[in-house]
Amino acid sequence: MRVQANIDIAAPPATVWEFIVDPGRYLHFMAGVTRWEVAGDDATGLGARYRTLMRVGSAEVGGLIEVVEWDEECDLAWSSVTGVDQRGRWRLRARADDHTHVELRLAYGVAGSGILGWVAEQVAAPTVRGHLRRSLQQLKRQVEHEQLRRQAAARRGVTSGGATGASTSTSNGS
């Protein structure tokens, strides 16, 4: 099952990219995500691994994922190593007036789970789609806020130093 959501953000791809490659920010803008924790030596980049969980229905579902595609300021894709099968992708495309079209895709399922697996995927889809939409809305709000802050700082002639989150964050008592 593949779900996706997209949104236009009033900021250049480079600014959006800063947000989506920083694992410390995920808990701040990804709706439904209860864990996004660095699981390897590399906090970011191709091959970086994260332990992720997203609340869907009665369970927090996820597993270990690995970044498998890294096209600077353009595409970032991951695939599951353990847990529920999943493939995710961020697609950033520059638009006029320093805007960025952001698309977030997530394909998920459990191979071999049969007809009930298919039913579960369909039942979960509205929840997952809702998480993705809210995530993009929150990302837009945060990125545009950061963009405004930087522009204001530039006008004042102050060097921008946007706060970034820690490289590892967990929730739910983890």
């Binding site: 009665s58 369970a59 270990l64 353990t82 847990g83 789970s113 739910n172």
Partner: protein, 312 residues
């Protein structure tokens, strides 16, 4: 099988003097109900599968997660909190209160949540009554890591570094009447404390609510069980009486029932490291009272959140 061999961690001669074996081997004496019970006991003993932790099948569990998720999310509207309290690695004893008769929805909800949260790769075993494992059609439970409840099996699982889920209250608690639904009742069974001490593993209390609303449980039927000798023959101290779908009056609950769709809420509490809290010489009774008190306080809080039975 040799004289000293065990089946599923239980001695084939648990009473030590051969009395049980003689009773099981000669069901032809006594009144009819007793003879039937003895025959059943023989069947159960023969059907208890040998203990083999390797029967747990992560791939099978993984493929079962979607249907468990459907049942847990849609039917029981399961909600599991505090899984982050369970240590990420190493052996741990998960001690739960048990509800719902012979069909225990809290176990389904928790097993799904645990497997999804930690991954099916993490070894996780659940201890269950002999009858559950020997019942026809329930063999698939062994693939989930369900093994017969016995100190030997628990020891084996903990030594392997697994998370082990035990329900000390067992049949005593799971069939408590509905007016005691918000009571943690282990019946004084302190084995889990000794187990945790022996293996120096943390105890994580798992408190659940809602399971005892899935049928109208009326009585444990302890007197009836004693009368039929089930307590000695099957380690079955109860013969529960309930009103449950689709049977109406349901005695024994041997065939299970259709549980009502009560909302199940489960909460994992912070780990209790007995020697850290009670010093090197832990008083078992004191530790037992502490765990039960913590669980009862949590159950009271969960009950206070609940506005209506079934609906939650």
């Amino acid at each position: 099988m040799g004289a000293t061999a065990t089946r599923n961690g239980h001695s084939t001669n648990p009473v030590g003097d051969g009395r049980l074996r003689r009773e099981q081997e000669s069901p032809g004496t006594g009144p009819l109900p007793t003879r039937l019970a003895k025959a059943l006991a023989g069947q159960v003993t023969r059907r208890i599968p040998p203990a083999d932790l390797d029967e747990r099948d992560p791939d099978y569990i993984r493929e079962s997660l979607p249907r468990m998720w459907l049942l847990s999310s849609l039917y029981f509207r399961g909600e599991v909190r505090g899984l982050g309290n369970i240590p990420e690695h190493g052996p741990v004893l998960l001690v739960g209160n048990h509800s719902g008769g012979n069909l225990t929805p809290d176990t389904t909800v928790f097993t799904l949540a645990f497997s999804a949260y930690f991954g099916v790769e993490r070894p996780f075993y659940q201890l269950a009554h002999n009858l559950v494992l020997s019942f026809p059609g329930l063999g698939f439970l062994r693939k989930f890591g369900t093994v017969a409840a016995s100190p030997a099996n628990a020891e084996k699982a903990l030594r392997s570094g697994a998370a082990v889920l035990v329900y000390p209250g067992g049949d005593h608690e799971v069939h408590r009447p509905v007016w005691e639904r918000n009571r943690v009742d282990f019946g004084g069974r302190r084995g889990f404390v000794r187990l945790a001490l022996e293996h120096d593993v943390p105890i994580v209390p798992i408190v659940s609510i809602g399971g005892q609303e899935t049928a109208l449980f009326l009585s444990r039927g302890e007197a009836l069980s004693r009368l039929l000798g089930l307590d000695k023959l099957l380690r079955l101290k109860v013969l529960p009486i309930s009103l449950a779908a689709p049977w109406g009056l349901n005695v024994g609950d041997f065939l299970g029932h259709i549980p009502l769709p009560a909302k199940i809420t489960v909460e994992a509490l912070p780990p209790i490291r007995l020697r850290d809290e009670f010093g090197p010489d832990v008083d078992v009774d004191e530790a037992y009272d502490h765990v039960v008190r913590l669980m009862q306080e949590t159950l009271d809080a969960l009950a206070a959140e609940r506005r209506l039975p079934l609906l939650g």
